[in-house]
Amino acid sequence: MNDNGLLTVESLNVDYGDFRAIHDVSMCFPKGAIISVIGSNGAGKSTLLNAIMGVNKARSGRVFFEGDDITGLRTSSIVAKGISMSPEGSSVFENMSVYENLVLGAFLPGPRKKRDILLERAYELFPPLKEKAKQQATFLSGGQRQMLAIARALMSEPKLLICDEISLGLAPVVVSDIYSRITDVNETGVTVVLVEQEVKRSLDYSDYSYVLVKGRVVMGGLSDELDEKEVKDAYFGINQYA
């Protein structure tokens, strides 16, 4: 699965001061696929995604997108290349309306020109957002907030959509709903990275999976071929990988 990667991570190390949060991580996100990154609290999932997006600086290692080295670029430049992220905790702009949040998602010149079409598409994907369009984001429910964060990320028409723990704190039915929407998005050709703590859900919804334990990749491959029990063991660090 290393040949036609849309994004590849090569021997990435990320530190917080003296503490190494990501150890020599290499990954490949194949074009058109849904990839899940599974790991427990503190495994380093957000750190990895933030390093890919240029929010955190990597100590060493490289990130390539469509063959271009994007390591060390400014976040806004990485977004302009075609990667978009729905960050952990959604980070919607609280003091702005749902509509304004979406409009900001289409800030870049390309998407800006076709903003109305993109808005329509966002409302179609997540109808509750249309109802709440004029309301301040502060007044959204947890699920609607995640919908807004994903819809906003999609407004830039990304080639790669990264979602950091969109299921956090949401009722299972809301999660299934959002996940099936993401599957729809993937079918339009957008490569998707899902970060999750739930092993079964991750394997079910993805084509490829990586398991992250204490900042290291301990397992990876086709989701269909990964055994849920083995992944769980690795996840909880009770076998040779940990």
Partner: protein, 290 residues
């Protein structure tokens, strides 16, 4: 009674000018969380530019003002792009120290070139009275100041609330990482903000230079006025600066009416302290920074 009404009206109009002095400080604080100690000195620097340019442009204050706005935008871009953006990454306190240094440099350079003499910018409206009744006399100059400031603040408010640029500014103010994730280059946005702040400072520099005149060391006194305006109105609130300016202006002139002109400034700041005790975040809260 006539004098009371006169004080009230003059205070209100003076408040407009104060708002123009303060709005740039509010903008920079509201969006970058930076207290720009150099704001007053940069404003007085623009007063000097307008004065000097007007002399070389056959006395046209309008042309001199436009040129000054351009020059101040370049200075703002350099200041923010080369100096402050780098330091801001390490937190707002080091950046504050940098602006303090900039203030001292401007002050000293102005002193070196122009000495400590009184200067002013010629004003066509200096001796015209717009309103002249038994109750009040309103000088054309004060009315002009107020109208220009109110228009400036209204336009700024609309730009920030209604345009995509304004939304990007508010996004950068509320969450830098989220704004970058929208593809907004927040470093560049900060540069635009500083340019905008110095352009509004040039308006303040023009009005102050025409109405009161200035010295090379006036910057620090205007910084304090700007602080007063912004603290009363609410740090980061654009409309609030107009309110803050008016309250400060009225408080000063009513203070002078009741207690004599010697305590005018003192009364202004006592009002500020009182309001601050009652509403620590200012009257119109904080619309930008979370």
């Amino acid at each position: 009674m006539e004098l009371f009404v006169q004080s009230l009206v003059s205070g209100l109009l003076l408040g407009g000018l104060y708002a123009a002095v303060g709005v740039g400080l509010s903008l920079v604080f509201g969006i970058m969380g930076l207290t720009n100690i150099a704001h007053g000195c940069l404003m007085i620097l623009s007063s000097f530019f307008i004065m000097v340019f007007a002399r070389h442009m056959s006395g046209s204050v309008v042309a001199a003002f436009i040129l000054t706005v351009l020059v101040m935008c370049v200075i703002g871009a350099l200041l923010q792009g080369v100096l402050i953006n780098r330091v801001l990454a390490k937190g707002p306190e080091p950046a504050l120290l940098v602006t303090f240094g900039v203030a001292i440099v401007i002050w000293n350079v102005l002193q070196l070139i122009f000495g400590a003499d009184f200067k002013s910018i010629p004003s066509p409206m200096a001796s015209v009275n717009a309103v002249n009744t038994r109750w009040v006399v309103i000088s054309g100059e004060y009315l002009f100041n107020f109208a220009v400031s109110a228009a400036l603040i209204l336009v700024l408010h609309l730009v920030i609330q209604k345009t995509l640029f304004g939304r990007a500014i508010r996004a950068a103010a509320s969450n830098v990482v989220a704004a970058e994730l929208m593809g907004i280059n927040t470093g560049r946005t900060y540069i635009y903000i500083m340019c905008l702040a110095l352009a509004t400072g040039s308006v303040g520099g023009l009005l102050v230079g025409q109405t009161f005149g200035f010295y090379s060391y006036s910057g620090m006194s205007y910084l304090i006025i700007a602080f007063g305006v912004v603290v009363i109105g609410g740090m980061g609130s654009i409309i609030g600066t107009l309110l803050g300016g008016v309250i400060l202006g009225v408080a000063q002139l009513l203070g002078a009416y009741f207690f004599g002109s010697g305590v005018q400034i003192l009364v202004g700041y006592l009002t500020l302290l009182t309001l601050l005790t009652l509403r620590p975040r200012g009257l119109l809260g904080n619309m930008t920074r979370e």
